[in-house]
């Protein structure tokens, strides 16, 4: 059964230095508040897994939380580069970052395998690309047809973290809209944290909604606005202006460090974070 706890407690109890941690949410419902809490608690040597690192992993990498990144597309969507990610890969700042990169289809297959407790996922892909020389991929032969397919090792994070719209008081969770790879992330992980916009007395089932029963989740933490600057369908829109504003903030090491200090390290939680961003006149 999921316990409903503060995000501070959830992160401090469930995430250890050196863990493999996956924060998922495909453009929608990205768990920013949980990522910020990892930064505040100074987690180190994490292997961060995420299909699209987005700004949240740019922040975690730039703050020195990561030792390794497993990913499939590392950009600022529609804007350009993730400069903290690039600085780590190109110049080893603030620390060298080991990377293991895949394609989206490869990561999706690896998450699905993890959720199914299978050792590997398979797909038609990778062969003929240069990814083969730089990532973990192998080949299997279909025992029925002889077709050769790519095999990717299952993703089994120590901790899976996702953001959802709602939980009920028993810790059952519902998310809807673009639901990405979140169900697989929670089911593939040894431990899981779900941040939610709100706790409601009873979940109202939504078309296309994904319900995660309380007994597959370890901790539920209320974090209203916790997906900002990504979005939560039914609650708030994607803050595209923030994504654009991140470009100059992240480009410069000092500007980035100052921004993180002011808005993340010196705030206690998601509500103070949102307040500080509004107060700064920064896009929120």
């Amino acid at each position: 059964m999921a316990r409903i706890v503060s995000l501070t407690d959830a992160v401090s109890e469930l995430v250890e230095d050196g863990n493999v941690v996956a924060l998922e949410g495909f453009t929608h419902l990205i768990p920013f508040a949980a990522g910020h809490e990892l930064v505040r608690q100074g987690k180190r040597d994490l292997t961060l897994v995420r299909m699209t690192p987005d700004l949240i992993y740019d922040q975690l990498i730039g703050m020195g939380c990561a030792r390794k990144l497993v990913f499939s597309w590392g950009g600022n969507p529609g804007v350009g580069s993730l400069h903290r990610f690039r600085d780590a890969v190109e110049h080893g700042w603030p620390a060298p970052l080991e990377i293991e990169e895949h394609s989206h289809a490869g990561m999706a297959a690896a998450y699905a395998a993890g959720a199914a407790n299978l050792p590997f996922g398979m797909l038609r892909g990778y062969v003929g690309t240069d990814l083969v020389d730089h990532t973990r991929v192998a080949w299997v032969e279909c025992p029925f047809t002889g077709e050769r397919l790519a095999a990717v090792q299952a993703i089994r994070p120590d901790v899976g973290i996702v953001h959802a719209q709602q939980a009920d008081e028993a810790g059952n969770v519902q998310l809807w809209g673009i639901t990405g790879v979140q169900k697989e992330t929670v089911l593939a992980s040894k431990r899981s944290i779900v941040t939610v916009e709100e706790v409601v007395p009873e979940l109202e089932h939504r078309p296309g909604g994904v319900v995660l029963p309380s007994w597959v989740v370890d901790a539920v933490a209320v974090a209203p606005g916790g997906a900002h600057p990504s979005y939560a369908a039914g609650y708030y829109h994607r803050d595209n202006a923030f994504y654009e504003a991140w470009e100059p903030i992240s480009r410069d090491r000092d500007v980035f460090a100052e921004w993180m200090k002011r808005h993340v390290l010196e705030t206690a939680d998601v509500e103070e974070y949102r307040e500080s961003i509004r107060g700064a006149g920064a896009p929120a």
């Binding site: 495909f26 453009t27 929608h28 299909m51 699209t52 990913f71 499939s72 597309w73 590392g74 950009g75 969507p77 529609g78 804007v79 580069s81 993730l82 990610f85 690039r86 890969v89 190109e90 990169e101 895949h102 394609s103 989206h104 289809a105 490869g106 999706a108 297959a109 998450y111 699905a112 797909l123 038609r124 892909g125 990778y126 062969v127 003929g128 690309t129 240069d130 990814l131 730089h134 077709e147 050769r148 809209g177 673009i178 639901t179 990405g180 790879v181 169900k183 697989e184 296309g208 994904v210 979005y231 369908a233 829109h237 994607r238 595209n240 202006a241 994504y243």
Partner: protein, 262 residues
């Protein structure tokens, strides 16, 4: 650069978007990359191909955005879609299963066989520029029935040798995809700001069409390999008033939408 048509002027980028959009037919099921391809695909839907089915890798099937999305998972894609499925499902049941007619991609580099690089400029372990990486492109390249590419033509982008082969287009030439076990036909058209390249029997891209006012010499100079030119090079019809109006309306509504904080 701009050129005149029926009193209207248009930019090279507008010509490129129009030329690419025209390649998408009514009812085509198109897996769309963000940026230039998304712009062209939505122009097709707004003009001659309203029933063109747009699929974005966020799992939105039959998306009908009024504004161009900034990301592949903007809320408007889900709100207007016929169906929204998970990311593992979009790649397995829909793309890998062979339900996509056209995969529509951009890239940082392309070679003479239409193979694409979106991973790195320079060495992998010592990159000059670290690019975002593969995303959905490699398996779109594997399983879409055909691949359209949109890319502004320059010697930096059209290279003799890719720094990294992220996505297989036509591999090492004729027969290459079959040897790799790839079901789709590979790259069938590359639309640039200068003209259109299509593969010959050998799989090598050949200049087959030039936009109005552009020359084969310009295309050769903007290509890092020795570009072959078809015996007969067609000239692209300039954008019609309807196409330009639709394209600019897309741009205007997208900007207004952004200004309104959405």
């Amino acid at each position: 650069m701009s050129a005149a048509t029926s009193g209207a002027t248009y930019t090279a980028d507008e010509m490129m978007a129009v030329a690419a959009a025209r390649r998408l037919g009514e009812g085509t099921v198109c897996f769309v990359g963000i940026g230039l391809p998304s712009r062209a695909a939505n122009l097709a839907r707004a003009t001659h191909a309203p029933s063109c089915v747009l699929i974005y890798e966020s799992g939105t099937i039959g998306a009908k955005p009024i504004h161009l999305p900034l990301s592949i998972g903007d809320g408007e894609l889900a709100e207007t879609a016929d169906s929204v499925v998970s990311v593992p499902e979009i790649f397995s049941y829909w793309l890998q299963a062979g339900r996509i007619d056209v995969g529509f991609l951009g890239a940082a580099q392309i070679d003479r066989f239409g193979n694409l690089n979106t991973t790195v400029i320079g060495g992998y372990d010592d990159p000059k520029v670290r690019l975002p990486g593969a995303g959905g492109a490699p398996e779109i390249g594997v399983s879409a029935n055909e691949i359209f590419v949109m890319l502004r033509q320059s010697p930096r982008a059209f290279v003799e040798r890719l720094d990294f082969r992220t996505t297989v287009g036509n591999g090492d030439g004729a027969g290459s995809r079959e040897r790799l076990g790839y079901p789709g036909r590979g790259v069938t058209v590359v639309v640039t700001d200068i003209g259109i390249l299509e593969p010959a029997q050998t799989g090598e891209l050949v200049l087959t069409q030039l936009h109005p006012g552009r020359t084969a010499e310009e295309a050769r100079e903007a290509t890092g390999w020795s570009l072959k030119v078809a015996r007969e090079v067609a000239t692209t019809e300039p954008p019609t008033d309807e196409e330009l109006t639709a394209l600019r309306a897309l741009k205007t509504t997208t900007e207004e939408n952004a200004a309104n904080g959405r």
